[in-house]
């Protein structure tokens, strides 16, 4: 096990343990009162909630979400390139520009199609 692997495992495990401890600890210490009113949903202090959260809403929300994920992943791919920008040199730069241009074409298509038009 090279020292690097141990370090990574150490960081990941600590990062997992600390939030778990914090969340579970408050579960043990606090006293839970689970009567019916407490568990009912919070509707600005009113009691009658009409309908459930699983109502059907317009598809444009889904479109916006998917497009966001798509271009977000694109930026994630740029990070490794940006980190060792010098070592990759010119051809690395050109490859990334090609990658960006392809996605830009996709973006222009989305705008022309009007997927971002809201109302």
């Amino acid at each position: 096990m090279s020292t690097q692997a141990i370090e990574i495992i150490l960081v990941v495990s600590i990062a997992a343990i600390i939030p778990a401890v914090i969340l579970l600890l408050s579960g043990f210490l606090g006293k839970k009162t689970n009567d019916l009113i407490k568990l009912s949903s919070y509707e600005s202090g009113l009691d009658k909630v009409i309908g459930t959260a699983k109502e059907r809403f317009s598809i444009k929300f889904y479109l916006i979400a998917i497009l966001f994920i798509l271009f977000d992943v694109e930026t994630i791919f740029m990070f490794p390139w940006a980190v060792n920008f010098k070592t990759l040199g010119l051809n690395g730069f050109i490859e990334m520009i090609v990658f960006i241009v392809i996605l830009l074409a996709g973006f222009v298509y989305v705008i022309k199609k009007g997927a971002l038009k809201w109302d």
Partner: protein, 183 residues
Amino acid sequence: MQDIKKESITIAKIKRFFPESILEVNLADNDDCIIIKKEANVEVLSFLKTDADLLFDGLMDVTCVDYLKHPIKRKERFEVVYQLYSYSKRHKIRIKCPVSVKDTTIKSVSHLWKSANWGERETYDMYGITFVGHENLKRLLTHHEFIGHPLRKDYPTKKRQELSANDSLFDQMDVLLKKKGLK
């Protein structure tokens, strides 16, 4: 006195067009008031709103007075009060309509001014005057399980009434959605 002459246009016009429905006129400095029969309230008020010289386009306030314990005896117990103002002509008038306790109804003017909608709902809530033709005459300030009309002089000040659960407002929303065709 320029002020009095301008006011008299409103009163002169009403006297000319509705002589039979005027019960009383009392002039005050920039605060005139005409008492008319309650049956004629919609005609007089729509006349006041549409007439070219008067143009009372703002209904400032709708309220009611309960004269049960007032030293000066009046024929009817209640009196519905409309306070009008003209934004363009810059003059104001107060129209009062006596309403008897036996038949506390009066025609609604919420089709003339939109501010009458809530003004009349509050007057119904506080005094029990039913405005015939009002599309949503419900209590406005007190809660929906309140019995009686608190601002009447015979309602004891400290008679408290609890509320078990809030109004879901779904009946009003139903009517609104049907009107909009979304239901």
